[in-house]
Amino acid sequence: MGKKLWKSYDYILLLTIVAISFLGVIILGSSSVTGETSFATLFSSQTFIKQLLWVVIGLVGMAIFSLIDYSEWQRFKIPLYLFSLALLILVMVKGSSAWGAQRWLAIGKLKLQPSEPAKIAIILTLSATMAKEGRTLEKWKDLIVPLLHVGVPMIVIFRQPDLGTSLIFLAIAASILFVAGLRWIHLAVLSVAGAIGSVFAFLFLLKPYQKTRLIIFQDPWQDPYGYGWQIIQSKVAIGSGQFLGRGLFKGTQTQLDFLPAKNTDFIFSVIGEELGFMGASLFLLMYIFLITRILKIGLEAKDNFGRYICVGVAAMLAFQLLVNVGMTISIMPVTGLPLPLVSYGRSSFLTTMISLGLVLSVAAHSDTSIF
């Protein structure tokens, strides 16, 4: 760790991450304390204290990863890939289920969702694969290796079933391959194939509950007390926030429990209700700033490996932001994807922090100074 590392460290990105994380913790506190809520009563909430602890742990983890030269990870490409694949298969066999899906692996008291670290593993290993000297995407056969690379874990996760997360893998892979020089003709063909595949998957592979959840967002009123409930209550929450919001700790949808999954998938609805259009827009602005900042680091990375990592992380965050926020305002189906950095949940939070640590490492180890 030379002097140069500190000089090229991206403090603006760091600051943005810290700001979003703490805003998230406060929102989470507001949504998890019932009754009269204020900054003082926040500390009576287990959820709030736990998440606060994990923000600190996450920040430390991020710092550690940011200090390790990301180039080192290239060497562990194969063990990383195999290990995460093994975990994913293990969860299929021995995992515990919730909400009709088998996503969790219990290790002692700890519960791990292997699909989360698998995201990092796939970003790292796919980036390493694509950054290998001499690899091009000129011909169709050049696509076989990367597609298999992503396809195998993706299908395993899809079978859990976790449609949302498997689609993140698709977003990550598509972005990295796109930046790695995927030909337009290949992109077009793959897109058409993907579209046909989706229709096929929808008709024959999805379970009925997944189908209902996928379409209900277009007309939640056809089942207002069942599948449509979350969507309607979320829209009610966000809409009732109006311009300035109901005020922190004062959202009635949130405080009176009308909003389901308000700590996890629907945390953005709390932001919309309590902070209004102003707050929600500023939050989105901050978030998009974070993502474009990651892409900027990618632009200035010293090598393609670093560049692909940034693109992968940015794609992961952008996709989740779009799907999660889109879900709360009824422009996207309900897929159960958390909002990175804000939703309650250890696996997701740590994964995001570590991936951001990797991005910070790319920035710190780039040739050009940002300042």
Partner: protein
């Protein structure tokens, strides 16, 4: 390499597009539609609860509660939006109430006002309410409301005029309950409470007002007198039937008024019924004698909703008119020879009895039809109707101006002139109380006017209205509707005739004071073959007042199809005994 950087920049643009799409949609929901969604959020969290106002009570003049308000329990369900909880609540509740879950589903689906709980069961017994309270946690959307319902502690006493309250909307729909509904109703309280998704109240009510109980009515009725009159009437009718003297003697009425104020002291209709079961077919089947004919089973009040020919009780109208107009003097005698023809109309005295030469007093005492037919024919129908009107018995004024019960529930008298070609024979018949029909209330006022010298007081039943704290809201003084300037001499003759009439009755002999009265045996129209009651016994009437010197009560006794008027005197005697506290 250049292409790589360019493609990353393209991804940046994609990010900005994502931002634009999200913010655009936020703008739509929060700014354009924001107010609507805020309303939906308020509807989510506010529940409107109603505290029903207890209905005002009705008291008799002697302080007996005739209509009270008792709390009953209503079980309702608030809107439950969680499917599983909704189902669980319905199954649980169905179990406690011992009904089918489907029945609850149906009631919920029919319920339109989502912010108010849907009523599932009314009149739930206290036991069940306790059980429900204990298991409330199993049914988060359960609401138990207190619904104050009408109860008539005195059951069949004054059942007819009290009327009825609709159980569902709690509005008075008949009788006093209807006419005084504005006072009796009270004002429901309401509160708006904030609830969470489980329908549990959070914090204090946002907005609330307490229920204000309805105002109380204080009647002029004395329940002791009412009771005595009712028992006597019932007993006499029963005996007449039992002894085979009058097989159709099922129904009747007693009206007792204060002739100096117009206050109604007792207002009896037989047969009566437990007013808590007014329209309860099962109660009627179990409590009313099987042999009672359907015409008697009707809920008609026979003091103001029923009119009949009144027979000889009418003769004081003809007599006073004769004296006042001078067509006859008190001393002039007319020969009553059992039967005669006047105005081409056959007239006979009761049992073709020959009374010889009778003057006014004697004619009243022996109830000579021939005498009054003669006076009537001298007067002409117009004069007779003029005096009918003077006594407040005209068709135009229902029940002599009684308006404590809505006029549309009252009947007016029958004016025989209507739709008829009048002949002299009609004049003769109306002179002794045939053809025209009057109500007991009209007769009460008429005899009161004879007693008080011609003052037409409005008959009334409601003396005072107090609010729930006992403060007087309204007090009704006696009201003079009309004042006739009958000459004291004429009145004296008529009264003396009545006194002689009363004195001749075996039932009124041994009283410590004199009484004035007149019987009436109203015959049915036998010329009309369609008339179902043409061969039944006459209606038995008695009108009078006591004491003769200083009238305190005016009495009308009416017994339908009970035969001779003299039979009604037995009831009158019971009333006099009770009122003046006499030992028999």
């Amino acid at each position: 390499m250049n292409s790589t950087l360019w493609r990353i920049r393209l991804l940046k643009i994609v990010c900005v597009l994502i931002l634009a799409v999200l913010i655009f949609n936020l703008f739509k929901i929060q700014i354009i539609e924001g107010e609507e969604w805020a309303n939906v959020a308020d509807n989510n969290r506010f529940r409107h609860l109603v505290e029903l106002a207890p209905r005002g009570r009705i008291y008799s003049a002697n302080g007996v509660e005739l209509a009270s308000s008792v709390p009953t329990y209503v079980v309702a369900l608030a809107d439950e939006q969680n499917k599983d909880r909704r189902e669980q609540t319905i199954i649980q509740l169905a179990g406690f109430l011992d009904i089918e879950p489907n029945a609850i589903e149906e009631k919920l689906s029919k319920h339109r006002r989502k912010f108010e709980p849907a009523i599932i069961a009314t009149d739930v017994d206290f036991e069940t309410v306790l059980q429900l309270e204990e298991n409330r946690h199993l049914m988060p959307s359960l609401v138990i409301q207190v619904d104050p319902q009408r109860y008539y502690p005195e059951k069949d006493l004054l059942a007819h005029p009290l009327g009825r309250v609709n159980k569902i909307d709690r509005r008075g729909v008949e009788g006093l309950e209807r006419s005084w509904d504005e006072y009796l109703q009270g004002i429901d309280g309401f509160s708006v409470v904030q609830v969470n998704v489980d329908n549990r109240q959070v914090g204090d009510p946002v907005n609330s007002t307490s229920a204000i109980p309805g105002d109380n009515l204080h009647l002029t009725i004395d329940t002791r007198l009412q009771q005595a009159a009712q028992e006597s009437l019932r007993r006499v009718l029963q005996r007449l039937r039992d002894e085979g003297k009058a097989n159709h003697a099922w129904a009747g009425a007693v009206l007792i008024m204060d002739p100096n104020t117009g206050k109604i002291l007792a207002q009896v209709t037989e047969p009566s019924f437990d007013n808590n079961h007014r329209y309860d077919k099962i109660w009627w089947a179990e409590n009313i004698p099987e042999e009672m004919p359907d015409w008697a089973k009707k809920l008609t009040d026979r003091t103001y909703q029923y009119r009949r020919t009144v027979g000889s009780t009418f003769k004081m109208v003809t007599g006073l008119a004769g004296l006042e107009t001078g067509v006859i003097t008190a001393r002039e005698k007319i020969y009553a020879g059992g039967r005669t023809r006047i105005n081409n109309q056959h007239v006979n005295d009761y049992g073709y009895a020959v009374h010889g030469n009778v003057d006014m007093r004697r004619a009243l005492a022996v109830s000579s039809n021939i005498y009054f037919a003669t006076v009537g024919s001298r007067l002409g129908s117009e004069k007779i109707y003029e005096y009918i009107e003077k006594f407040g018995m005209s068709r135009a004024q229902k029940n002599a101006g009684f308006d404590d019960i809505s006029l549309d529930e009252q009947v007016s008298s029958l004016d025989y002139r209507l739709g008829r070609t009048w002949v002299g024979g009609h004049t003769v018949q109306i002179s002794y109380g045939q053809l025209n029909e009057f109500t007991a209330m009209q007769m009460g006022n008429y005899v009161s006017m004879l007693a008080n010298g011609g003052t037409h007081y409005k008959p009334y039943l409601v003396e005072k209205v107090t609010d729930y704290q006992g403060e007087t809201v309204d007090f009704f003084e006696p009201q003079i509707l009309d004042q006739q300037d009958f000459s004291p001499e004429s009145l004296k003759v008529i009264r003396e005739g009545m006194q002689q009439s009363a004195a001749s009755s075996k039932f009124l002999k041994d009283l410590p004071f004199a009484v004035a009265g007149k019987t009436g045996s109203a015959e049915h129209d036998r010329s009309n073959r369609k008339n179902k009651d043409r061969w039944r016994d006459t209606h038995s009437w008695w009108v009078g007042y006591a004491p003769y010197d200083d009238p305190e009560i005016a009495i009308v006794v009416f017994m339908e199809y009970a035969g001779a008027g003299s039979r009604s005197i037995e009831v009158a005697r019971d009333i006099i005994d009770f009122y003046f506290d006499l030992e028999k």
